[in-house]
């Protein structure tokens, strides 16, 4: 278990919304990172796919992901072994039940180590009807440089709405 769990930075999206949320200049002094998201977007859907890049890197082939999901009607899996982004679940979209937000957590193990990065995700969208999802994801980033920035954004090109939040925590093992 973590010895310390420190809030590094927090974002509360204001009335103007946000097309993306970026945490940069992240210290290498922690063991792991945790990014907690409560997010909803302007996209006309119940669940809007979320993407993530680290270190501003959009190079094709540096990311991979495997998704296991269920939506109440069924389950499935998907993924990519060579992508230009990580897939980090979904935000609740604008046609979902009012004032509901997805609840997501992204865990970056050994983010500053000189190794390929392993990043896990679990999260759910909210909707008082069909079209709510639960996702579990295994992501990887095949570069050995430390992660110093994290950017999350809707794949749809929509914006995060007001009251969406993102909290970045540092976890130390000693």
């Amino acid at each position: 278990m973590a010895n310390t769990y420190t809030l590094i930075a927090a974002v509360n999206v204001g009335a103007g919304g946000a097309s993306s949320i970026d945490f940069n200049s992240i210290s290498s002094s922690y063991t792991d990172l945790v990014l907690s998201l409560s997010v909803r977007t302007t996209q006309a859907t119940t669940a809007d796919d979320l993407l993530m890049r680290v270190n501003g890197d959009s190079t094709a082939g540096r990311y991979a992901y495997k998704d296991l999901y269920g939506n109440g009607s069924g389950s499935g899996s998907g993924g990519s072994t060579s992508a230009s982004f990580n897939y980090v679940g979904r935000a609740t979209g604008s046609t979902a039940t009012n004032s509901t937000f997805a609840s997501n957590q992204i865990y970056f193990t050994n983010y500053a180590g000189a190794i390929t990065k392993s990043i896990t995700f679990d999260g759910v969208t909210e909707n008082n009807a069909s079209g709510a999802f639960g996702d579990f994801l295994a992501n990887s980033y095949n570069q050995t440089t430390a992660i110093s920035s994290i950017t999350v954004y809707p794949q749809s090109g929509a914006s995060f709405v007001q009251y969406s939040t993102a909290y970045l925590y540092g976890v130390k093992n000693a």
Partner: protein, 73 residues
């Protein structure tokens, strides 16, 4: 009308910036939106075709979906 903004947080200083997107960035988002809608439409079509093919097979075999699930379990 102003362009949408993105949020950048400097974790070292704590500074939070709301930066208006450039016109090029806005266009890039619009391109992403159009591509995403096309992708979702394609997925929906593929799912509908798969459902139709599945229904056809069940009818040919003369079994229900529940019976097929039982056979495959």
């Amino acid at each position: 009308m102003p362009n949408p903004t993105r949020i950048e947080v400097n974790c070292e200083t704590g500074e939070v910036l709301e930066i208006e997107l450039t016109d090029a960035e806005v266009q890039s988002l619009e391109d992403a939106r159009v591509a995403e809608e096309a992708r979702k439409a394609e997925e929906a079509t593929a799912a509908a075709l798969k459902a139709e093919a599945k229904a056809g097979i069940l009818q040919r075999l003369g079994i229900t979906a529940e019976e097929a699930e039982l056979l495959l379990s």
